[in-house]
Amino acid sequence: MTRIPPALIRAKRTDRFMTGIITMGGFLIIAAVLGILVFIGREALPLARSGKSRTNPSLQVAPVAGLLADESGKVIGLLRPDSGVECIALPSGTPLATLQDGPVRPWKQATEPSSRGEFAVLDQENKLFFGRLNWEKPSGDPDPTHWTPTVEWNGGMPASMDTLLAVRALPPSGLATQPSYRVLASGKDGLSWTEWSEGALTWKSITIPELQDTTQAIWSADGAHLWAGTRSGNLHFLSMEGEPTLNSSLAFGEPVTALGFVLGQTSLLVGGEQGKLLACQAIKKEDAFLLQWFHQFEKLNGPIRGFKSSLRDKRFLAWSPNHVVVDHLTTENRIFSASAQDTRHASLSARGEFIYAASSTGELRSWSMDAPHPEISAKVLWGKVHYEGYEKPEQVWQSSGGTDDFEPKLSLMPLVFGTLKGTLFAMLFALPLALFGALYTSQFAHPRLKNIIKPAVEIMAALPSVVLGFLAGLVLAPLLEKSAIHVILLPFFALLAACIVAPLWIRMPKGFRLGWGQGRETLWLIPAIFIGLGLCIVLAPSFERIFLGGDFRAWLLAKHSITYDQRNAIVVGFAMGFAVIPIIFSVSEDALSSVPKALTSASLACGASPWQTAWRVVVPTASPGIFSAIMVGLGRAIGETMIVLMATGNTPLMDWSPFNGMRTLAANIAVEAPEAPVHGTLYRVLFLTALLLFALTFLLNTGAEVIRQHLRKRYETF
């Protein structure tokens, strides 16, 4: 037996220990990356989930003329022509209060209450009342038995009309404290309308022949326009300022049985006798209105009886006598669908979580719905969607607006486009400079020059990108705006100067040229470029004056209808290119320098010139390294945030013009994340963009690695 020396045992133990630590470190890194991926994925995943709904036990109440849902889902108001407004607690059905004041019962007619709890009543004495149900909830008290309902009544003047068709409460204007109301009603003489603020009603009759068979009507949000649907299957749009005039009409195809607005009161829902469901909008174009159908929904079973919109987003409730559905306007998706026999009235709570339907016999059915992100669909994210106020389907990113009823536009395409555009411009600027710089430095420059150039370029990488972005946005962009034409002309002048200097250099005496030293003749190009610059500065204004009418930007706008933004793709190209150059330069210079001397020697010994050697032997051999340099640079450019954030206007445009800006995926996350409510739709969409960025970089790197391995196998040396 030979004794193993203790030093060897120690060495082996250390070896095992270090192997363990290094392996563990590697696995931890992989686990961390996977963990991040899983986290991002988990935050984004609920976007793909479709809504869930649950049927709640139904209650038996007396027959109603309308339902007034409450946001809490704990109480509901029942409009009962014979006994007033009855309030009950849910889900027990315990009566809380019956509000009997106001109009004389039994009412002749009660209109379908709006989503905000507003309704109108024609009472027994044919007086017109406007009502609104309010709940007074002591703050923080969750017990509905402590809540007090009140109905705020207005009006009460003789109406002399048979049927109320449309009522619109207009917010108090001027010194008035009470809302005013616009009413459309039909009587023996046909359609009449009135505006009531106080005092008596003065009916003005509408004598437009197209409106003779009007079945449904609805006032626009400001009461200035009226939509009317007819039995003959037409939708008319009337201007009600001054004398009622018919603006324009659309054919619907079947008798209109219901009209209703989606939140924001710009998209009009039209329901027909066969269950047809379309959305329509009127876009103001100069003086005229353009009416268009812009969303189409799945048909309902049976004639549509009414609509209720959510007060938070663009979902809405529609019902027919045996079908209750909730659709989303933007996505056209059906979030909820239930068949409910003999449904007369239905209601949707403000947040769209509770759905109620009452039958003619007084059965009150209810459902709970959980659809947190109904506004997201694959089409919204990637396809063209027809948004409110847009003439045609488009890909738009606009996550928030000035009002609560804003329709979020969450197309990712403009962001992906912006990312690609920014990367492209950065690469256009950086690639030639970095690669040719690396080629020159590694193959032609005098070693002493190389020892200066390389560290100098690498110091560029040490500049924080926020500084670069700052300089680009606040210094470079205004400068570029002032002298755009100079910048565009400079490359041509510089090239011209170089083309003049190069032949001159060849004509110099040989002794002088050799004395100057190999690789240093390039220094002569520097004054040449300065001369080019000087010429450019001197000549550009005249060029602008003669060819471009004195103002480049005005010329651009007039001749090519391209607007010039101050913070545009060129600025980003410069700034992000500046950030990317050191990476590409450094990695590809290393690759070029590490081409075996034996190969260059062999090439030179074959009689190749240094340029031929560089181009035919060194570059192909170093191509895997150069390729990874480009890919690393590309990865950096795609993920770069601060520079694009500061150097562009962050406008999510889809336009290749170099004179306007873009919004990239990364910058978008930086801009919007602070404003996105946690677990909201925007929040999750931002995580989705993060996932996309991750996938983009991952695919790019994997693809690059595959190609690099392939190249390496091909150009493998020694």
């Binding site: 020697s601 030179l604 010994a605 010139s609």
Partner: protein, 293 residues
């Protein structure tokens, strides 16, 4: 360009230690092959080095070298590592220009031109030389493109000319039969010996006047080495060869003349047979008998 039409310099100043005598014109090697025939001894000078001093910075690497290589002969340069034999070889095609801080004085003539004259076109000069390196260094290109490289950089695009040159060179390098079916495969897929012969073919493709070989067999196994040695023997008919080698048997086997270097000085040069059997200098004898080096 035909080598035979080229006028040769008329003044061969032999620095050979033993001027060749008529009686020694037939020297037989061990295998019975004539190493040096009369033609070799009477060959006109192809490469002549005169009073060559070379400095790497302050350090002098070559001291007053005088050497002549006859046309269509093989000159072997031997000596211990660092003695300057490779440096001398690289002076002949000015590859030392690539190294920083090198200063050269003296004269090197190839054919009739002084290659260190100020108006010499280095690239044109290198086209007249072929060089084979210590380690095989085929380009990461196809076999065909490797051989055609020298012509391609001269701007030859005619496919027929290239095809002819590739075939001729590969045949000369004794590689044609092994690779003729896979000319488009990478040169890196060949074995070490084949790669080295590919490099020789590459050097031959431009029909060089002089073939410079820098320890061409040092990285090869004995079989591949003997293959290359046979090749050198055949190439001698068309080319002038200068070969640097560490292997004294190899020098003895392939060369007509041998020059022994030590510490940057040329100690002795002479007919190979003579130098190995009966060296004039004590130092040469010590080296070839393995007492130092």
């Amino acid at each position: 360009m035909d080598l035979n039409e080229r006028p040769v310099i008329p003044e061969p100043v032999p620095t050979i230690t033993e001027p060749p005598r008529a009686g020694e014109a037939h020297i037989l090697s061990q295998q019975g092959t004539p190493l040096t025939d009369r033609a070799a001894l009477e060959a006109p000078t192809m490469v002549s080095v005169k009073d060559l001093n070379l400095f790497y910075g302050r350090k002098q690497a070559l001291h007053g070298i005088n050497l002549e290589v006859g046309k269509n002969t093989v000159m072997a340069l031997i000596g211990p590592s660092g003695c300057g034999k490779s440096t001398l070889l690289r002076c002949i095609n000015r590859m030392n220009d690539l190294i920083d801080n090198v200063r050269i004085d003296g004269h090197v003539r190839v054919g009739q031109s002084d290659i260190y004259a100020p108006d010499v076109d280095v690239i044109g000069l290198r086209m007249r030389m072929g060089m084979v390196f210590q380690k095989s260094n085929p380009f990461p290109k196809s076999i065909y493109e490797n051989v055609a490289y020298g012509l391609r950089v001269q701007g030859v695009k005619n496919r027929a000319v290239l095809d002819e040159a590739v075939e001729r060179s590969l045949i000369s390098a004794g590689l044609w039969d092994e690779v003729k079916d896979r000319l488009n495969e990478s040169g890196l897929g060949l074995s070490g010996g084949q790669q080295q012969r590919l490099c020789i073919a590459r050097a031959l493709a431009v029909k060089p006047e002089v073939l410079l070989m820098d320890e061409p067999c040092s990285a090869l196994d004995p079989l591949a080495t003997s293959r290359i040695e046979e090749l050198i023997f055949e190439l001698k008919r068309d080319f002038t060869i200068v070969i640097v080698t560490h292997n004294m048997q190899q020098a003895a086997r392939v060369s007509d003349f041998t020059a022994f270097f030590w510490m940057g000085k040329l100690i002795e040069v002479g007919l190979t047979e003579k130098l190995f059997t009966n060296p004039r200098e004590r130092m040469t004898e010590d080296y070839i008998s393995g007492r130092f080096g």
